[in-house]
């Protein structure tokens, strides 16, 4: 039995809920600090670091490390690639919902 065609097309990086949550949070803003993402998404520091690295490696997220008031601060922004990937992912999800409802 073959899965629905749209499921196969889903972006495997975004089809993981923690990463999807991070990208969604970033999609609505210019940039978020590590702390803001952690509080918004509700991940532990360790988990968030791991997922941010995966997203950065995929080119979906750009991470910048700076110092604010002498304290290190990590800021993440959604790259153009990441934004396109999220839009594509949402299109696929909507297509799945439509397809199943249409049966």
């Amino acid at each position: 039995m073959q899965p629905l065609p749209h499921v196969q097309e889903l972006d495997s990086i975004l089809h993981e809920k923690s990463r999807l949550a991070i990208v969604s949070a970033l999609a609505a803003t210019d940039a978020l600090t590590f702390r803001e993402i952690r509080d918004t998404v509700g991940l532990t520091d360790g988990n968030l670091s791991v997922h941010l690295r995966v997203l950065e490696a995929a080119g979906y997220v750009e991470v910048e490390k700076t110092f604010v008031n002498r304290k290190p601060q990590t800021r993440a922004t959604l790259s153009r690639t990441g934004r396109k990937a999220l839009a594509r992912y949402v299109d696929h999800l909507e297509a799945i919902v439509k397809e199943v409802r249409g049966r």
Binding site: A21, S24, L26, A27
Partner: protein
């Protein structure tokens, strides 16, 4: 086992489709929730609320000795209250975001300021009109209505309590206009003073409370 799960290909495929649809809907909901959540300005200062409330109460109490009927005194007191409140708010917000280690001029912060501008401008224009026509004692109700509209306009970006405050201010504004000029300064103390004191106390009670968890299994 596999054969037991396969009474017919049609049934299994339809069950799988239903699981896919469920997952797709959950993920769409997750995207929506996270996008909304990340645009919310979460750093309202409780200290600012309490101080602004105190300043407004002090302004209202000053009319125990001053004549509210005198447009110059009335204008001077509330002008001072307004700018003092703005100063306190800015100082406390800066402190709040610095403590949280986040930037001050974020997109939600900018959007909140932008949402407030029309109501504040309208309020300033109506104030000029009222003062020039000797109807300044009607201004407290107008200010409350404008402030309420401004608070409601920020509701996309501000915490829910601000929208609730907006509604309360609009109702209070209507009541103040109905009560008439005799109640102008008392209502300013009760509504602007009491309202901000309540907001500050509410923020103090809920501060640092973790965000409501996402629906179970969302992440």
């Amino acid at each position: 086992m596999l054969t037991a799960l396969r009474p017919s290909d049609g049934t299994a495929r339809s069950e799988m489709a239903s699981v896919d649809q469920q997952r797709a809907e959950q993920n769409l909901e997750l995207i929506r929730t996270l996008m909304e959540r990340s645009t919310r300005y979460e750093y309202l200062s409780a200290r600012a609320g309490l101080q602004v409330g105190g300043i407004a109460v002090a302004g209202a109490v000053s009319f125990h000795w001053l004549s509210a009927a005198d447009p110059f005194l009335f204008g001077a007191v509330w002008f001072a209250v307004f700018w003092l409140s703005v100063g306190v708010m800015v100082r406390e917000q800066v402190r709040e975001v610095r403590d949280a280690g986040v930037p001050l001029w974020t997109r939600p912060a900018r959007e909140i300021v932008r949402a407030l501008v029309p109501a504040m401008t309208l309020s300033a224009l109506l104030s000029l009109h009222a003062f020039s026509h000797g109807r300044h004692l009607e201004l407290p109700g107008v200010w409350m209505l404008c402030y309420g509209v401004g608070a409601l306009a920020t509701s996309t970006y501000a915490p829910a309590v601000v929208a609730q405050m907006g509604v309360a201010f609009m109702i209070s504004g209507a009541v103040t206009l109905c009560l008439g000029p005799a109640w102008a300064t008392t209502m300013m103390g009760v509504v602007f003073g009491g309202g901000h004191l309540l907001l500050g106390a509410g923020l103090l009670a809920t501060r640092r409370r973790p965000l409501r968890p996402l629906k179970q299994g969302a992440i």
